[in-house]
């Protein structure tokens, strides 16, 4: 990121290539469609480029990046017309409008994981029903591997609030997995 601040275009491309898939995957859990998630990710990276001078090296780049990603996702969820523009999150995996990359998750990984498509679908529904802040905190901690402090920085809240958000989300998800017999 320091190279990007110095105006190194190839460094920006490397950062983009490294993070884009994760950002799109994260955003897709908030905006519903792959296409919208890609748009949102692009908007975020445009913001990163425009505000590159504001980045301070004491924070990890990914913390700074996900602060913007999370803000964009939560704003999107808050927008009144959100449901009108995106597909319903209640639609089952594999619907015609569903992004194939999301629909094929269980099929692609079936060899190395015994989780059934039904289990993934159930967890996905529970995840999408979590309050957005719980969802964001959980994904940042479990998928991105953020510490609670980094999650707090990304969500602009206290570490004790993050502790509570992650605990509640973890318990909710555990109960749904139990119901699936996993």
């Amino acid at each position: 990121m320091l190279a990007v601040q110095r105006g190194d275009a190839s460094a920006f491309e490397r950062l983009f290539t490294k993070h884009i898939a994760n950002v799109v995957g994260f955003a897709a859990r908030f905006v519903g469609t792959r296409a919208r998630a890609e748009e949102l990710a692009q908007d975020v990276f445009l913001q990163v480029y425009k505000h590159r001078e504001r980045y301070e090296p004491q924070a990890r780049f990914s913390t700074w990046l996900y602060r913007m990603v999370t803000n964009a996702c939560l704003s999107e969820v808050r927008r009144a017309d959100y449901r009108g523009r995106t597909q319903s999150m209640d639609q089952p995996v594999g619907d015609a409008d569903d992004p194939p990359e999301l629909a094929d998750i269980s099929a692609r990984n079936s060899e190395d994981d015994a989780l059934s498509r039904e289990t993934l679908e159930r967890v996905r529904t529970v995840l999408d029903d979590l309050p957005p802040q719980q969802r964001a905190a959980l994904l940042l901690a479990r998928v991105e591997g953020f510490s609670y402090e980094e999650v707090a920085a990304s969500l602009s809240c206290s570490v004790s609030a993050v502790k509570s958000l992650i605990h509640r989300a973890t318990v909710t998800l555990r109960e749904s997995l139990k119901e699936e017999g996993v």
């Binding site: 983009f16 890609e38 692609r108 967890v123 609670y148 502790k163 509570s164 973890t170």
Partner: protein, 171 residues
């Protein structure tokens, strides 16, 4: 010993190694003596491991065409960098133009009529003179005072009008 409720609130953070050393000690002490909380901690530990795998798969989009997306981003960056031409066409829209012309006409007429004091004072809209504002008691009959000059010559006016009437009668 801490209560089970207080400890359970901290169990997820404990499993995630996110508790302060002081709290870790308290939770560890409680879990060592409480079988229910120990089972709960074990259940959370197992579930968190599973959740990591499930959530990672649910957010894995795969096949992201990063080259295409980066090219799109580069175009957006270039568009941002370009100085934007000023667009004045919106000024000529009737919804904007008509009220602007009307406002301009009012301003011109207003100025031609002598400005705010001359136009508004007869209508009683203009603020009173400073002297009146400072001593409102003194000027409570301000309206009357404005006509003082006429009142001073009231007798003359009266007599002149009477003379006129008499002349017309004799004539």
């Amino acid at each position: 010993m801490a209560s089970c409720g207080a400890v359970r609130e901290n169990l997820t953070a404990w499993v995630d190694s996110e508790l302060s050393p002081r709290r870790v000690e308290r939770v560890r002490e409680h879990v060592a003596r409480c079988a229910d909380c120990a089972a709960e901690a074990e259940s959370l530990r197992a579930s968190i491991g599973l959740q990591r795998r499930v959530l990672t798969r649910l957010t894995a989009v795969g096949d992201v065409d990063s080259a295409m997306l980066h090219a799109r981003l580069r175009r957006a960056v270039a568009a941002e960098a370009e100085p934007r031409p000023l667009r004045w066409s919106w000024i000529f829209r009737p919804m904007v133009l008509a009220p602007a012309v009307a406002l301009l006409a009012v301003l011109v007429l207003f100025t031609a009529a002598g400005g705010p004091t001359d136009v508004l004072a007869p209508l009683g809209v203009a603020p009173p003179p400073l002297a009146v504002k400072r001593a409102t008691g003194l000027f409570k009959d301000y309206t009357l005072i404005q006509h003082l000059d006429e009142l001073e010559h009231f007798d003359t006016v009266e007599s002149e009008s009477l003379d006129d009437e008499q002349d017309s009668q004799t004539g």
